[in-house]
């Protein structure tokens, strides 16, 4: 907790150089020490798939990323706290040519409408499916409590996750390791 205090006391002038690996690429930048990680990702790295829905409350989950293997809310961290971290954002999940099973599931099952919550939602699903092979509906619902969606009523999101889980379950260990490498 100490770094937050120090950062706040030097508002406006303190800078620090940080180095992170984002979606497999090393990024080294000098950032204001008070800069939020989500702003670093969106504004310094131009990865705008990570969204801001609640301004530093950590409630909406639209800014969820995978950091050192865990789904975290990037609005609740400073960029400097992520120094040295291995990060995956939605841009690292899959491409339109080769969608990740999670993305495929959301597409097939209409798991998104406006799409604003979707990147963060998928990061939480990533965290779930990495560790749980056949999640039950209740497990899926519980895994998504930190991500709010205002459009879908969650029904199709649940189906999307089930679709993805089935795809993942049918994969070989090597294939699984490859798509859950973060």
């Amino acid at each position: 907790m100490q770094p937050i205090q120090e950062a706040q006391q030097t508002v406006g002038n303190g800078m620090k150089t940080i180095q992170v690996r984002v979606n497999g690429k090393i990024a080294k930048k000098e950032v204001p020490i008070r800069m939020l990680l989500v702003d670093f990702i969106r504004e310094e790295l131009a990865l705008t798939g990570t969204h801001v829905g609640c301004s530093v409350e950590g409630r909406c989950g639209a800014c969820t990323i995978v950091l050192n293997g865990d789904a975290v809310k990037s609005c609740l961290m400073l960029a400097v706290q992520a120094d040295g971290a291995d990060i995956m954002t939605v841009e690292g999940l899959g491409t339109t040519d080769k969608l990740h099973p999670i993305q495929q599931g959301f597409w097939e099952k209409h798991g998104l409408q406006c799409g604003f919550c979707t990147p963060g939602m998928m990061m939480s699903v990533y965290n779930l499916l990495k560790t749980t092979r056949h999640p039950s509906i209740d497990e899926i619902r519980d895994a998504l409590v930190g991500n709010l969606c205002r459009c879908t009523g969650y029904e199709h999101i649940i189906q999307a996750v089930q679709y993805a889980a089935d795809q993942v379950a049918a994969m070989s260990k090597e294939e699984r390791d490859e798509i859950f490498s973060y």
Binding site: V11, G49, G53, W107, C114, R150, C151, G153
Partner: protein, 791 residues
């Protein structure tokens, strides 16, 4: 009017075309826009519910490094007209007092969150820092948070130059109501309250504005109605129409009505961009958003029903009091929602004698802004739950009371003047009863009771607007109700469709493509959709009120049908066959002569002739292949029915309840994409559950908002809601070319009465009633205890 074309695409649950970009994080929302040299706007807002501004000291903020400008209210006001110009004021009769408003408060603030000072800085961090340095001195004034208090003759006035605090007052009435009440066997009379709650989309509002003296103002803003905003900015700021360009982003993170009004910040950022000659960006933070937009409902209904002993409702009387807040938003003014709620109050029921007196009162809260189930949420709760109370009092099965009152003949015009075009409400209702397995649930209920478990079943209906035709929309919002679309075949034989509306997640790129693909015999991949840019798209009222599948898509169909004869004439000419211009089929991107299918030509070749090689056209034919059409239904109103049912289990000791089943039977005419329709139903039900159970914009007695974070304003998460079963019961409307209707807008409406009636049924306590929203374990527990105390 309905004509059949080959349907290969309409009616299929096709994956959405917009999804790939959204799934890889390449969606472009307003916060993702940036322009070189862009500065950032932060708005300093009132901390008081009602106060005079004695002094504003901006000197420290101005001196803060990185601050570009600090702007206060008078300066902005001097540059424009009062915001509520006539084109964005409804014309609904009754008595209306119009507040004067400019983008920033000048000498008085009316609610906590009222914008006062604009800070523009090189970064959003600096703008927020500098905002803390603005010093505002206030003199507090009495705060009004209760509309019934604010209506009293001796109440302090919120607007000094008004005669009282009544924003709008009017009556909707028809038939002989007094006679109906005299003849009634039973009169139900209750006060119902539907609290302040609403939408709160995941993406807040935002805009990026820029200005230069040659092209004028360009504002990217996540509005639902770019054309109306363009018109408003031009008029309010006295700018030539050609110097105002409003562009809604391709991707908007939900709106549900909240992004439909004309807001003060939109005028503010336009002024700032003009003044500074610099691009400016503003993205509302969540706290501002929860303090400012998406607050709807907030109606008290003193509802009376005159009923025969058989359960037929012969008269309805209601005194509706709405807490309109400050009423200072364009188009809606905080009273159009309650007005429409009154007009739709009798819902799907045939009630001949109705009198509704509506009072919309200003208070020291932000203005009501539209939210899905526009104005209807409290009224649906009151009306449909009241019918269950009627059944209980008359010892009738509520199923029979509903069946007795449901509209059976179409078209049907209600006593409040709403036209129901077509449908089978009774069939939809019966389908729900079957799906619930109503009789078996009753048996199970009896069994469960023996084991001490309280299970109940409830239901409610919602006839939701399917767009609003000009006959209603012109008086209601001073805007046309027609749908507008342009269909243009390009040099490559691909089809570009332009719509004047601007969606926020509804999937128009998919569904509009499905519609056009069928009309012109192409695949969806041959079609691209353009929307959002007012310099390019035809004028239209915006994506709201279920207008898409009913009005806008119908316009696209008509535009295609305008093009078809010309395409056939060119085909006949190029193929050298005789044609009356209507003897070709459109399939596989080809135009095929019906008399001899071996005579066919690719649409691309026709486009080539019409656009690039006009010498190949029949003599005298105009070049080009494009058409714009405006669709207006040949009936005053279209509605679509939804019937909701729930089975719940209640714990009488805690008041908590669990939803065991939630079923919706839904009609949208012809569904263009059933998967998308189901998604709308799921989302609407869950918003209704959030509104009915968890979400509340709370204020203390000083008007301080207590729900300014998503922790306090509790929107449901995945773990808060049950599975939702959806059953399609579609009846095509004869009033649109495809038989399609809109779906999504009104779905939250039936949720509170469905839950309330199921809970009441489960408890089976005489005298137990749920009269106030939200329905919480605490409110149920209290009602149980009140019912148990003999009066």
């Amino acid at each position: 009017m309905t004509s059949v074309t080959e349907s290969k695409w309409v009616g299929r649950s096709i994956r959405r075309r917009e999804d790939p970009r959204l799934l890889v994080g390449a969606g472009k929302y307003i916060a993702d826009y940036s322009i070189p040299g862009m500065a950032y706007l932060h708005v300093v807002r009132s901390t008081h519910g009602h106060a005079r501004i004695l002094n504003i000291d901006i000197s420290k903020a101005e001196d803060y490094p990185g601050v570009v400008a600090v702007i206060t209210g008078q300066e902005v006001a001097d540059a424009m007209k009062p915001m509520l110009v006539s084109s964005i004021i409804p014309n609904l009769g009754g008595e209306l007092q119009i507040p004067t408003v400019y983008p920033l408060a000048i000498d008085k603030v009316q609610w906590v969150g009222d914008p006062i000072v604009a800070i523009i800085a090189e970064s959003k961090y600096i703008a927020e820092d500098a905002a803390q340095l603005v010093e505002i001195e206030y003199e507090k004034l009495p705060v009004l948070t209760d509309p019934e208090e604010a209506m009293k003759p001796d109440a302090p006035k919120i607007y000094d130059n008004w005669k009282d605090n009544m924003l709008w007052k009017g009556q909707l009435a028809s038939g002989d109501v007094d006679k109906a009440f005299k003849e009634a066997d039973y009169v139900l009379s209750e006060r119902f309250y539907g609290h302040r709650t609403g939408a709160a989309p995941m993406e807040t509002r935002g805009a990026v504005a820029s200005y230069d003296e040659f092209t004028g103002l360009t504002i990217h803003v996540n509005t639902q109605r770019p054309h109306i905003l363009r018109m408003a900015i031009s008029q309010i700021m006295s700018m030539p129409y050609d110097k105002v360009r409003v562009i809604a982003p391709k991707d908007v993170g939900g709106a549900f009505g909240t992004k439909a009004p004309i807001y003060r910040e939109e005028l503010l950022i336009s002024y700032i961009a003009m003044k500074l000659r610099r691009p400016v960006k503003w993205v509302e933070n969540r706290m501002e958003s929860l303090m400012t937009i998406g607050q709807e409902r907030d109606q008290i209904h003193y509802l009376e029903l005159a009923v025969t002993k058989e359960g037929k409702i012969i008269g309805l009387r209601d005194r509706l009091i709405a807490d309109s807040g400050d009423g200072r938003i364009g188009v809606y003014l905080g009273f159009v929602m309650p007005w429409l709620g009154a007009a739709y109050l009798s819902n799907a029921y045939d009630i001949p004698n109705v009198q509704i007196d509506v009072s919309c009162v200003v208070t020291n809260k932000p203005s009501l802004t539209p939210s899905r189930a526009f104005g209807e949420f409290p009224g649906r709760f009151a009306m449909d739950y009241a019918m269950h109370l009627v059944a209980r009092e008359l010892k009738l099965d509520p199923r029979d009371v509903f069946e007795k009152n449901i509209i059976k003949q179409f078209p049907h015009v209600t006593a409040t003047g709403i036209t129901h075009d077509s449908g089978d409400y009774e069939g939809a209702f019966r389908t729900l009863i079957e799906a619930l397995d109503y009789d078996r649930v009753r048996q199970e209920q009896a069994e469960a009771r023996k084991n001490g478990r309280l299970i109940g079943v409830g239901f409610a209906m919602g006839a939701e607007m399917s767009g609003l035709g000009s006959q209603i929309f012109v008086p209601m919002e001073n805007q046309p109700g027609y749908g507008a679309a342009t269909v243009k075949i390009d040099t490559h034989g691909m089809i570009q469709v332009f719509e004047g509306d601007s969606p926020q997640g509804q999937g128009h790129e998919t569904t509009l493509s499905q519609v056009v693909a069928d009309e012109l015999g192409v695949t969806m991949d041959d079609i691209y959709i353009s929307y959002g840019d007012t310099f390019v798209t035809p004028f239209a009222s915006g994506t709201l009120g279920n207008r898409g599948a009913s009005y806008t898509f119908s316009a696209a169909v008509l535009a295609c049908r305008k093009l078809r004869p010309k395409i056939q004439q060119i085909a006949a000419h190029l193929l050298g066959v005789e044609s009356d211009g209507n003897d070709f089929t459109f399939a596989n991107k080809e135009i095929v002569w019906k008399k001899d299918p071996s005579k066919k030509i690719a649409l691309r070749d026709i486009a080539d002739a019409a656009i690039l090689g006009p010498t190949k056209l029949p003599r005298g034919m105009e070049a080009g292949l494009e058409a714009t059409a405006y669709f207006e239904a040949d009936i005053a109103g279209m509605l679509s029915i939804g019937v909701h049912g729930a089975v719940v289990e209640v714990n009488p000791d805690t008041g908590d309840f669990k939803i065991l089943r939630y079923v919706v039977v839904d009609d949208c005419g012809v569904p263009i994409n059933p998967m998308i329709v189901r998604g709308q139903v799921h989302g609407g039900v869950v918003m209704g559950m959030g509104n009915a159970r968890f979400e509340k914009y709370a204020f203390d007695e000083a008007g301080q908002p207590l729900s300014t974070t998503l922790m306090e304003y509790h929107m449901p998460s995945a773990a808060d809601v049950p599975d939702i079963e959806v059953i399609e019961y579609n009846v095509p409307t004869p009033y649109t070319p495809l038989g399609s209707k809109g779906k999504g807008e009104g779905i939250p409406g039936p949720v509170p009465a469905t839950l309330a009636s199921a809970i009441t049924d489960a408890l089976n306590i005489p005298g137990f009633k749920i009269l106030n929203l939200p329905i919480t374990p605490e409110s149920i527990w209290r009602s149980i205890n009140e019912a148990k105390v003999p009066t």
